[in-house]
Each structure stands twice: as structure tokens, then as C-alpha cells.
Symmetry: C2
Subunit: 233 residues, 2 copies
DNA sequence: GGTCGTGACCTTACTCTGTAAGATCGCGGC
DNA sequence: GCCGCGATCTTACAGAGTAAGGTCACGACC
């Protein structure tokens, strides 16, 4: 069944690695990586599971490919950015790139976790990092400091970092007073902090934080620290 | 088969959540999370797969449990640390904890990737972070700055961060001269940096870095940045 | 001591996964 | 008209998680 007795009226767009990978991203966007199975992927492109293997080596290849595709999207965007007017603007330029990457990855929440499971280095990731090094070099970094910088940034360079408390997780804000008191006994500092932070921000419930602000806070600490090292170096 | 006609001479140690989780860690240590299946886990504890379900809810629960177990190990170690002699020593104390956590996690390479897939917050993780906040509070941090600090540290707080280039991945150092030249054309800054960094360290091949040093470099940038903010704040 | 409930454990079976092997289909070149 | 060949589909299999129900040992009660 499926495409067996295909009416000749439907022209059948041919499969391709590109089309398969785009479909994979679409499926993951909708249902997470868990939903991305070869059969589901085949269905999405109007084919049978085994037909996919003429365009991708296996499922690992699909996962590698989707990562590459997404970073490629990021590269397309950041490549259009103007180079910094002054060398000293390296920090602004790097910051802008990272935040652009983050913006794209936020549309694919499943991607960061997937990235960390890839062992093969994607060419697009290499290209992205190459661009960052270029900016830092122009800003006065030694090669050595560039190298350290990439390590210091880690996944933050690509616009993500493990979010501390995921609000989508275990029931948000349904804690009873008794449960909260029990928590306060076991984790006094944590509950104290959350009580105060939540008070400052009335929208905030236990475990909710402004991801974007926190991300930028961490990013700025690192960039500022690197800038100081560069000046001293 | 299996435990069916068990001779009464063998006393049969009873299953328990604890024993199952410890076995799970052992299997993952040996063969990675991929090797951790319910059947393999049952075999390890001398039972049948379905018997495990009397002690754990399902496989997700096993994974959650192993995470909790490992962080519990970390907490046992860091809880024995003396509190800092002077408030200003918060940085040393936090640094010491993080590096202790890292040391333990380095013995379970599969764990970091697993952590990032857990949505439920482990009580042991809460306890660990609670301790960090305690140190920072004693060192003069506002609750707000503690909060930012945890976000800035991210997974680094627990002693890991995505390693940039995994040397175990795609063939280390077998690049031909032609391939290297092709790479240099596509990624000039990256290849330039690696050439120089590798030159400084003759042990280093393309893609190899001193993880521990890089980790501490990044950690120190963040801790120094936080210290400056605390003083200014 | 018999019996009976209760859980720990095992057996079987089902659905879903990735993918190997081979059949079939359709189109371009002779 | 025929052939060759690559793209596609069909079938099948091993291994995953786990639902449903059977079995068996042990402690509580009469």
C-alpha cells in the first residue's frame, strides 16, 4: 500500500538527501527526536522506510544530517553580518552571532540535546567556529586564547546551554505549602533564593527563569573575562 | 531457564531499586547507555527483564535513578569538605566542589549526555545546587546574583561541559596533506589555530585538547567574572 | 498444621524499532 | 522493442520496552 498504485496524475517529486533531512527536521520540530523514526520519516516524504536508505546511510546519518542542516541555516544568517567596524568590536560581533544562533536553535528545541550525542564533527559546525575565530583574531586574540575561548564558550558558542530548571518538567507551581516547607528544610538556600527571585518577578513561579536574560548574563561574563585576558595578554 | 531451577544452595540476594540502579551504572560504565537495556540489566542482576518492574517504574525511571545515584555520590564527597575559612574564599570552595564533581563524572563518561535528556529534576541535583548557593551566600552574594551564577555555570557547575572536539570521533590524525590543505581553504582560521596550538604541544594532534585545563580555564573565567560582579554589586 | 493472601519473580506475547535481502518498477539509451 | 540500472517497495528478522497473567515462597491467621 502507500505509493503502490500511484496515479500518473501525481508527478511524484523525487527523493533526495536534502528532502529527507528537511522532513526529519519537520518531524522533530513537531514531536521531538523520539518521534523521528525511519518509518515516520518515510511516511512524511511519501515513500517506504527502506527507500530512504538510497539517500542516507542509516539513521545516524539522518541525525548527523539534521544537525548539519540546522547549523548551515545559522551560517547562512551570520555570514550576512557585516564585519565589525573596529577591531575592538570583536565582542559585539561574537555576541551578535551567538545570539543569532540561539534564536534559530530556539525554534528547534530538540536540537541541542541531539548535538551532544553526535561524535562526528559537522562541517557546518567547523565553519561556524572558523568564523568565530576569525572575529577574535581580528580583535587581537592570540591563537592560543582563541582556542581557550572556544572551550570556555562550549555549547554557548552555538547559542545554547543546559537550562537549569525546565518549567515543562514536573508540575509547575502545584507544590502545596507542606511540600514547600519540606523542601525548605532539605534545600534551605535553594528555596530561599527562589522565594526572593520569584518575589522580584511576579510572573515567575518556582523553577521558571528568563532563559534569554540568563543566557546573555552567562555569555557576557565569559566575553568580558576573555576581553580582560586579551588586554592583559 | 535462567533462575528457574535455582539450587537452594544459592541464597538469591533479593532485588532492590538500589541494586538495580547500581547494576545500571556498571553496564553503562562498560558499554555506554546504548548497552543499557532492560534485558541486559536483568541479566546483570540475575533476574528476568520483567522482574525489574517491581523495583523501578520503567526505563525512564532507571535512567533518572542512575543520574540521582551518581550525583548522590558527588554529594557524599563534597559534603565532607570543610566550609571555607573566610567568606572571601567562596571562589576556592566552589571551584573545589566543581572539580570534585568533574572527577567523579569523568569516571562515567556516558553520564553528562544522559543528564541533558532528563527533564525531572533529581533531588540530589537540588541538594548539590543548594550547597553551591550556600557557599555563595556566605561569600556575600545576593540571592539574585546566586541565581544568575547558577545559570552562568550551567552544566559546568556539575563538572562537565560539551567537549568541543572528541578525539574518539572520526579518525584522529590520519588526515592527508591534501585533505589538510582542502580544510585550510574552507576553514582558514580554524586550521591556523590548530596548527599553532598543536605546535606548542607536541602531544597534541588535530582535535586533541587538554580537557582538564580547558575546563578549568572556562570555569575560572566565570568565577572571576562573578567575583567582580559581587564586589561591584 | 493447614490455608490463604500477598507480593516477588517469571513466561509469554505484542508492538515498534532499525535495517538486510531481494523483488519490482520505470525511465533513458540502443 | 528491448535492456540495463538505479530508485523504490516488500518481506522478514533481531532486538527494544513493556502489558498481562501465571507461579511460587513466605508470613498471618484459624
Amino acid at each position: 500500500m502507500g505509493a503502490r498504485n500511484r496515479p500518473s496524475s501525481e508527478p511524484r517529486v523525487p527523493l533526495s538527501r536534502e528532502r529527507v533531512l528537511r522532513a526529519a527536521v519537520a518531524i522533530a520540530d513537531e514531536g521531538g527526536v523520539r518521534a523521528l523514526t525511519m518509518r515516520r520519516l518515510a511516511e512524511q516524504v511519501g515513500a517506504e522506510a527502506m527507500s530512504l536508505y538510497h539517500h542516507v546511510a542509516n539513521k545516524e546519518d539522518v541525525l548527523d544530517g539534521t544537525v548539519d542542516l540546522l547549523i548551515g541555516e545559522i551560517n547562512e544568517v551570520v555570514d550576512r553580518f557585516d564585519p565589525p567596524a573596529e577591531p575592538a568590536d570583536w565582542k559585539k560581533a561574537v555576541r551578535r552571532r551567538v545570539l543569532a544562533a540561539r534564536e534559530i536553535l530556539l525554534r528547534h528545541r530538540w536540537a541541542p540535546a541531539l548535538f551532544e550525542t553526535r561524535s562526528a564533527v559537522s562541517p557546518q559546525v567547523l565553519r561556524y567556529h572558523d568564523g568565530l575565530i576569525g572575529l577574535m583574531r581580528a580583535g587581537g586574540f592570540s591563537h592560543d586564547l582563541c582556542h581557550h575561548a572556544l572551550h570556555a564558550l562550549g555549547s554557548r558558542a552555538l547559542g545554547f546551554a543546559q537550562e537549569l530548571f525546565d518549567p515543562s518538567g514536573a508540575g509547575g507551581g502545584e507544590e502545596s505549602v507542606a511540600e514547600l516547607e519540606a523542601m525548605a528544610e532539605r534545600f534551605p538556600h535553594l528555596v530561599g533564593m527562589l522565594a526572593e527571585v520569584a518575589h522580584d518577578d511576579p510572573d515567575s513561579t518556582l523553577g521558571w527563569c528568563d532563559d534569554q536574560a540568563e543566557f546573555e548574563f552567562g555569555l557576557d561574563i565569559i566575553l568580558d573575562g576573555l576581553d580582560r585576558l586579551r588586554e592583559a595578554g
